[in-house]
């Protein structure tokens, strides 16, 4: 039985089709686009907030998208435990919406970074890393000007204590170093989850790295993970 991905489309989203393609053509699952002005999630089992430049990044990244008509339904879905993945601009929307803590600052060097980086999977007890191994290195592309993750010291302490940092920028050997940090993010944080662990946001683009033709298929594990996690959940429900 296949699961249904709901891919939210904001004006300015540009990785929505990549996420749809990864879910359907690569993984053989169902997927549907959800226009930001819709109020219904159309029965989606998992929500993806894709990368791009929603509303032109006006005011702040994700600041306008946060007030989209579809957001209340996504907040309800997330609070009920539904898996939500925010990628790049989608991560920024989750931060603005308060589903994840912290905020993004301009990259430390003020440059837009468009390159492949390596991230280390720190935790595999989220629906988007369940099929990955702890410490696994993923080669993923980044493309952002504001990925310099910031939260105050108390929030960072809480995130670390609760093992909510899910991905960290690292070098090719898996070492978390300052040189491997592309944007200045606190503690090399590339992705994190909420307290209930069902909402995950990350700056790199796993949906653009799901086939060897694209230079890396390492991102597929996030999509495979959620398919696996939901299959287990379904099996538990029917048991």
């Amino acid at each position: 039985m296949s699961i249904k991905f709901g891919v939210v489309v904001f004006p300015g989203s540009n990785c929505d089709h990549d996420a749809h393609h990864a879910a359907t053509d690569v993984l053989g699952q169902d997927a549907e686009f959800l226009w930001h002005k819709d109020a219904s999630l159309k029965g989606a089992d998992v929500i993806v907030l894709p990368g791009g430049f929603a509303h032109g990044d006006y005011l702040r990244t994700g600041a306008i998208a946060r007030f989209s008509p579809i957001m209340p339904a996504i907040l309800d879905f997330a609070r009920a435990g539904g898996p939500v993945l925010g990628i790049c601009n989608g991560f920024q929307v989750l931060l603005e919406a308060g589903l994840l803590p912290g905020a993004m600052l301009r990259n430390r060097d003020l440059k837009f970074h468009c390159e492949h980086v390596t991230v280390r999977v720190e935790q595999n007890d989220t629906p988007f890393t369940a099929a990955a191994a702890k410490g696994q290195r993923l080669r993923l592309p980044i493309a952002h000007g504001e990925g310099n993750y910031y939260a105050d010291a108390a929030v960072i302490r809480e995130l670390e204590a609760e093992r909510r940092v899910i991905f960290r920028y690292c070098d090719a050997r898996g070492e978390v170093t300052a040189a491997a940090n592309p944007n200045g993010a606190v503690n090399n944080i590339a992705g994190l989850c909420n307290a209930a662990r069902n909402v995950v946001g990350l700056m790199p683009h796993p949906e653009r790295a799901c086939e060897a033709t694209l230079g890396s298929a390492d991102g597929l594990v996030l999509f495979r993970s959620v398919v696996m996690a939901l299959a287990h959940e379904g099996a538990a429900r029917t048991a």
């Binding site: 005011l59 600052l105 301009r106």
Partner: protein, 79 residues
């Protein structure tokens, strides 16, 4: 009635743009500029019965939309 809203990064938050501008000014010989913080400026046209109400309204939208309280602080002036 008009309100001006000034949004800047909090003192505790590093401002890479402000730092770059300060460095550029120093390289131009403006050693007297010791630091720069870059921010945003908004002019709001308000329909409010009093200056107090205008202040309240502008502060509310600054807090909810114009500034992100995680990283930014704001100041409101009503005229």
């Amino acid at each position: 009635m008009k309100a001006r809203v000034y949004v800047t990064l909090k003192k505790s938050v590093f401002d890479p743009q402000g730092k770059t501008i300060a460095d550029a000014l120093h390289s131009l010989g403006y050693g007297g500029v010791t630091d720069v913080r870059q921010g945003k400026f908004f002019e709001l046209e308000l329909s409010a019965p009093s200056a107090d109400q205008a202040q309240k309204l502008a502060s509310e939208v600054a807090d909810k939309v114009l500034a992100n309280p995680v990283i930014e602080s704001y100041r409101v002036e009503v005229e």
